[in-house]
Amino acid sequence: MIWRIEKRTAALARPHAWLFPVSLAFAVAAGACIFSALGVSPLAAYGTMARGAFGSFYHFSEVVVRAIPLMLTGLAVAVAATMLLWNIGCEGQLVWGGIFAAGTGLYLIPHLPPFLAIPAVIAAGAAGGLLWGLIPGLLRAYLAVNEILSSLLLNYIAIIFMEHLYFGPWRNPEGFGFPGTAQIGEAARIPHWFGTRIHLGLVLALVMAALVFAALRYTRWGYQVRAIGLNPQAARYAGFRIRGQIVFIMGLSGALAGLAGMAEVSGIHFRLQQGLAVGYGYDGIIVAWLARLNPLAVPLVALLLGALIVGGEQLQSVLHLPASISMVLEAVLLFGLLLSESLARYRLVRRAAGEETSAAGKGLP
């Protein structure tokens, strides 16, 4: 008997069911190799990570805290990708959400009635991301500028502008030269629960995931977005306004990322400072892909990635490994998914040995 690999002619009935476990297993195995190469027992390393992420309620709450911005940026990427738009600019949109939230908290909230404070901060955060997301959206819709490049490059502008703010005009006068704005007032901070750092952003993210899912699936708008993503030519035939949808969806995507920035500022740091742009925007791309663009799967994948990040930090403090190991594991996880997706297109076929001898070319005249 000879095994050979053949391309599948029919798609698997439920390909998604086993893709994720397989890619996870691949990531774990690859991670084990890396740990061994670093001279650490994989078992000890994974044990440390697991304890770090799930060892106690507090540890797990930190996983959730990390997962909140990832859920929002993951949703942002997923909703745009549904229409074949690649929003690589979530990082910048997140930063602008943070800038708007901080600016509102610092300069507007003191003049607002208290019951309006939190809604104002949330709306400002969404608006900041929305405006920054509109730029690549408009460029794509009306000037055919590739949104991957424009949104990516806008990230650097956003980050530098934020630095300008907290090093310059918005710098905390009582901050002893420490780069950052003053803290926003209590009124502008979103509530925390369970005595942890878990904050209102979690509810926001989960509600957004459900809303985006329902909107894509059950609304007229969502139908159009899916149709445009699957077949722009047919969408044009049906008379859908594709330009308008591009602008809208990039704005929506930006707003979701902006909410992530808002939640970081108003729920974690309480100010603009270094450490706001730590790559949640880029991690959102991984989250969206691992979730296969399904909004309902995004929160779960975000939790997994949050656990990787928190666990990775434990590796640093307990085993003195570089913290970037968690980024490596993230990357391997994504590679695993891409790999298993490709593998799913093939299958193993058993053939009798004799059949194989008439291989291509041999019988040619």
């Binding site: 053949e6 029919a10 139908y223 149709a227 047919a234 044009r236 035939y237 291509a360 040619l364 005249p365």
Partner: protein, 506 residues
Amino acid sequence: MAMTTLSSPVLALTDITKRFGDVRANQRVTWTLDAGRIYALLGENGAGKSTLMSILAGRYQPDGGEIHLRGSPVRFLSPAQALASGIGMVYQRFMLVEPLTVAENILLRRGPIRGKRTRDIRQIRELAERYGLLVNPLAPVRTLTMGERQRVEILKLLYRQAEILIFDEPTAVLTHAEIDSLFDVFRQLKEEGKTVVFITHKLEEVMAVADEIAVMRRGRMVSRVAAAQVRSHHDLARMMVGREVILSVQKPPVAIGEAVLTAMGLSGPAGADRLKFQDVDFEVRRGEIFTITGVAGNGQEQLVAALAGLAPMAAGTVSFRNRAYTAARWRRRTGDGLAYIPEDRDRTGSIDAFTLVENFMLTRLDAFGGALWVRRRRAARATAAAVRDFSIQGGGIRGLAAHLSGGNRQKLILARELSRRPDLLIAEQPTQGLDVRATEEVWQALLRQRASAAVLLVTGDLKEALTLSDRIAVMFRGRILDIVSAREAADIDRIKLLMAGLGKRE
């Protein structure tokens, strides 16, 4: 049975079997092909013809059976291997790189071509002239019509010295004149001892050019006869379908009403270097089927796109339901009344990854959606009704459109567009590539539509035009040369002359 010849067959298939999931596309197919003969392969949609030919051409590997080429067993793992052995195929969907030129496509392996007068290009020109495959080697494929693209595909094979040439429905995208010249190519190939196999649904083509006819039904080879032995179209049709089919379509008279659409001085498309259609005038009246025909590439495609509101016109006025629109305002027109069945049913008319229900909503969101929500249940009911009324088979209403055969897909689109109750139905190449039964069903539906609407049919299939039309407009180089009443159109030769740009009435 197979023709017996003294020489051994150039190609022999034995017990070829191929499964796709649960579907048995080919079941123990045995067939032999000789050099210097033209074979027609017939069968309904889904009979397994394309699969069998794809196996020959190395695109698929059989699950069982053997292929012998000149007596030696072969197994092709790729089309490249098959072509290296002299077996080439022209697929229904052309395999061309659109941004590249004709010559670059033919010489694809060699990379970009510098200079304009290389030896290769001269060689391609010679080859093209020899077979009457007129196409400019330096033109980008993107700019070519479907008919021209097919010539490029044939040149690709001839350039690689293919001995066995397989065509999957080669005439589906061609006009009458182009079909004639394609058949001349076939005969030339035969003269040189090459083997031609072509898949077709059109019986008259079989009679015109084939030496031997093979018929497949449900994955099996059911009969093989010499073309000379076939006495009538009915014989062949019966072999294909396994039952008697009606080939003459009943066309009950319908009262002709007012003009629904009047085109005056249309030119376009806007913004192009060269106008593809110019000064086009015609009207389509309720109760009639008005047909625009012509050789592919004479502006019909662009005219239809403009009429359907998908592309801007440069000049002219459209009067629709007694309202006049300028060229610019026609494109921005909203609202119902006009339904359009596009030529490309797979990539324009429907979406592969959508279910039948979702596809049924594509152009009917106003009916199946409020301002916010999509009314899925209502859409599902309407789809189920359409599936029943048009006997659309394959997977049920929750199945994906990708799994529908060409005929069923077209019926779904037809059902959807008719359900909009349009005043004007534009149907573009509506039966291209469909089998006898599906063609007949589409024709009947179009004829029924006359009772309530005006029908604008755009087709390159002269038989279709003559069968259905009340009046036929012939386009040549962007202009309507003449509009012929279908009663006079018994004079097919006159229409053929018009299609060639001749015979305009003084």
